[in-house]
């Protein structure tokens, strides 16, 4: 239990609450209920919450799954610095946003869900979690020619590099080439080209 990152769950909850607020707001304004302007507020608040919560924060340990297309919102959310990094701010913000929607029946569920999300964010903030943006990793360019040190000095057949460097270390030859220095042929070899 000690390693649970609550912020990720709070993020999912807040995103879902945003969607519920938008739906409830649409029902309220379309049905022209009494006090329908609360419905309009709920739609606006829902959209704002969804946009704020869309980029997922980075996990402390391990890799994080990004949401599709989240890098655009990440750059916007990153601009606000400590306001969006700190989860206490987010908890209070969500709590305040959820209160006006509680006055209308159609959006009351959005209030409840956003309030729960705000509570979980408070828990995450108390445990010291922070929102860190997911940066794309810089692509490592393959070093062309980095492993070529210098051309070999001996003609073939050549023993492997380890045997050339340490002629006394015979166990280093894993490829099983002939040990020792230059090739010493047991039978004299003559060139038989006529």
């Amino acid at each position: 239990m000690g390693q649970i990152e609550w912020a990720m769950w709070a993020n999912e909850q807040a995103l879902a609450s945003g969607l519920i607020l938008i739906t409830g707001g649409i029902v309220a304004t379309a049905g022209r209920f009494t006090q329908w302007y609360f419905g309009a507020y709920s739609i606006v608040a829902g959209v704002f919450v969804c946009l704020l919560e869309y980029p997922r924060g980075k996990r402390k340990k391990g890799s994080t799954m990004e949401r599709w297309g989240q890098k655009y919102m990440t750059s916007v959310v990153k601009l606000f610095g400590p306001l969006t990094r700190n989860y206490y701010v987010r908890a209070v913000l969500h709590l305040l946003l959820s209160v006006p929607a509680g006055f209308l029946l159609a959006t009351i569920l959005g209030t409840a869900c956003l309030a729960i999300a705000s509570g979980i964010y408070l828990l995450a903030a108390v445990r010291g979690e922070q929102w860190t943006p997911i940066e794309p990793k810089p692509r490592e360019r393959p070093q062309i020619g980095g492993t070529i040190k210098q051309p070999p000095t001996n003609p073939p057949p050549r023993p492997p590099a380890e045997a050339r460097k340490k002629p006394s270390d015979e166990e280093a030859a894993a490829a099983g080439g002939p040990p020792g220095g230059p090739q010493a042929n047991p039978i004299p070899v003559t060139d038989e080209v006529v």
Binding site: E12, V27, L105, A112
Partner: protein, 553 residues
């Protein structure tokens, strides 16, 4: 698909039973009743794929002879998720429809049929209605519980913080209790004395203005459908079907249908959990703990009356490590008639396995391979739950099987290989292609002995082509290119680099023309997708590849 059909059916029946004029009142009621029917069905079906012991029993018993039916059991988790998503969507519809109803109940309060009203007086605030009636309050609580469960069940949360998913998902029991209370509120009523007070009859004691507004009252579940003429008040005076009311209408609450729907699966699930609890109450006896390279630990144990088929998995529970967490591991060695020992291989990844390893193998002796005998007395108590079925059991039932393992995913196939080492004749399998891809060459030592013994055994029995082993080392920065001096058979079957799947599939198709080859994969998702795609492609040799998929999370 089933739920869609049921939903449509419910909508049709509800609309047909109600008044043909669909005003706003009727639409809200129709939608809420129809979505309630779909929810009934889904809430009852969603429990069934989670009765794992029952599914394991069906998989192994003779009552399910067809392979196609067994493959349906592989999809049980997907079915559970589909039902969950359907519940979520239709709950949304149900809640929206009822919110509209609540508003209408308060606005159109009917003085004539006092019992039918849900509101207590005209223009009662609908929010009060929501929170002070039994169905309203239980409904709100159910939505909150559902919200918690669904937000914790997304793929991202399951992959990163499985604990949140597990603990919130256990709230389902609260959800079901609330559901039982929700339908017992008695909101829906039907009329008990239709013969003496048929709908639309004229009450001679009342004024005519009150009679004209009769068709707009929304009492549900009339036994006979309304004749068309009654729906239009202008034609009210013209028709001849009007009867005289003998007495006042009496209403009685409907029997909650939901209780019938969900009591069956809920009792079945509770029975299964009780059975599993009783079965797992006895701890196992750990025989030996072996440390393998690349952070893998093998535990061998015995338990009375424990029977398992190759390919099944068990769930380990160790209270000294964590009181609440359970973790599933595939059996790598199953108990046989001659030997009651069974074993699992665990990869140390994450805090539970690390703490478990520290309890079993004290840090000082983690470098040595076999634990000295002295420390066996201090093993913690370990409980196992299971065994549960998996699609890999099917590999022994194909004539030719292709088993592909990635890293630690070799564990289900290890139990298959152990079973073949014991006795291969009773099974239908006649040829096994075993492909194991690893990143680190030391990983192959987990089962190098087993593979060599199997290879030698089939050589001795003059069936050298029974098992075809290919080992692949996907990362090539190591100097060491052999597994060990004594594993000749494996060194010659070791390839550097990733396998070329298309060529492999073509080769297997060519050598097994016209046969059905079962393809099993246990490894990363990308590997699984590649193999699935290749299995579905046609080839010119007439060989059919059937891909069997296991879903992990």
């Amino acid at each position: 698909m089933l739920s869609a059909v049921t939903g449509l059916g419910s909508i049709e029946s509800t609309v047909a039973k109600n008044l043909p004029v669909v005003s706003i009142h009727q639409l809200g009621l129709c939608l809420s009743r129809a979505s309630a029917s779909v929810l009934n069905l889904n809430c009852s079906l969603i429990l069934l794929p989670m009765c794992r012991t029952l599914l394991a029993y069906f998989r192994g018993s003779q009552k399910v002879p067809s392979r196609r039916t067994r493959r349906l059991l592989d999809k049980s988790r997907t079915f559970h998720i589909t039902c969950g998503v359907t519940i979520c969507i239709f709950s949304g519809v149900h809640v929206a429809a009822h919110l509209v109803n609540a508003l209408n109940f308060s606005v159109s309060y009917s003085e004539d049929f006092v019992e039918l009203n849900a509101a207590r007086y005209r223009n009662e605030d609908p929010r009060k209605l929501l929170f002070t009636t039994v169905p309203g309050l239980t409904g709100v609580c159910m939505v909150v519980v559902l919200f918690l469960m669904i937000t914790a069940s997304t793929y991202a949360i399951r992959v990163s913080n499985y604990d949140i998913f597990w603990y919130t998902h256990n709230l389902f029991f609260v959800f079901y209790m609330l559901l039982m209370l929700h339908v017992s509120g008695g909101l829906l009523k039907y009329q008990t004395n239709l013969d003496t007070h048929p709908p639309g009859c004229i009450n001679l004691n009342r004024t005519s203005s009150q009679n004209i507004s009769l068709p707009e009252y929304f009492s549900e579940h009339f036994r006979e459908p309304f004749p068309e003429e009654f729906s239009k008040p202008e034609e009210f005076t013209q028709n001849t079907f009007v009867k005289i009311c003998m007495e006042e209408p009496r209403f009685q609450a409907n029997f909650p249908q939901t209780w019938l729907w969900i009591s069956g699966p809920l009792c079945l699930y509770c029975a299964e959990r009780l059975y599993r609890y009783i079965r797992s109450n006895k701890p196992v006896t750990i025989i030996s703990v072996i440390s393998h390279p690349s952070d893998v630990m093998e535990i061998r144990m015995v338990k009375e009356n424990f029977k398992a088929r190759p390919g099944q998995y068990i769930i380990l529970h160790c209270p000294s490590v964590s009181a609440l967490e359970n973790h599933p591991f595939t059996l790598t060695m199953c108990p046989t008639e001659t030997k009651a020992t069974f074993g699992v291989h665990l990869k140390i990844v994450g805090d539970w396995t690390e703490r478990f390893r520290d309890l079993l193998l004290p840090p000082s002796s983690q470098d040595t391979e076999i634990l000295p005998f002295i420390q066996s007395r201090n093993y913690p108590k370990l409980y196992i739950d299971g065994p549960f079925g998996s699609p890999f059991e099917e590999s022994l039932n194909y004539e030719v099987s292709l088993c592909v393992a990635g890293g630690i995913g070799v564990t289900p196939f290890a139990s298959i290989l152990n079973t073949l080492l014991d006795d291969w004749k009773p099974y239908k399998l006649r040829r096994l292609y075993f492909i194991w891809v690893c990143r680190d060459i030391q990983s192959f030592r987990w089962f190098a002995d087993l593979l060599c013994m199997l290879h030698n055994k089939f050589w001795q029995e003059n069936r050298p082509d029974y098992v075809n082993i290919q080992l692949y080392l996907s990362q090539t920065d190591g100097i060491q290119k052999i597994i060990g001096e004594k594993y000749h058979a494996l060194n010659s079957r070791l390839f550097i680099g990733r396998p070329r799947w298309k060529l492999l599939f073509d080769e297997i198709a060519k050598y097994n023309r016209g046969k059905t080859v079962g393809v099993f994969c246990c490894g990363p998702n990308s590997l699984s997708k590649t193999l699935h795609k290749l299995s579905n492609q046609n080839n010119s040799y007439g060989t059919r590849f059937e891909y069997n998929k296991e879903s992990f999370s």
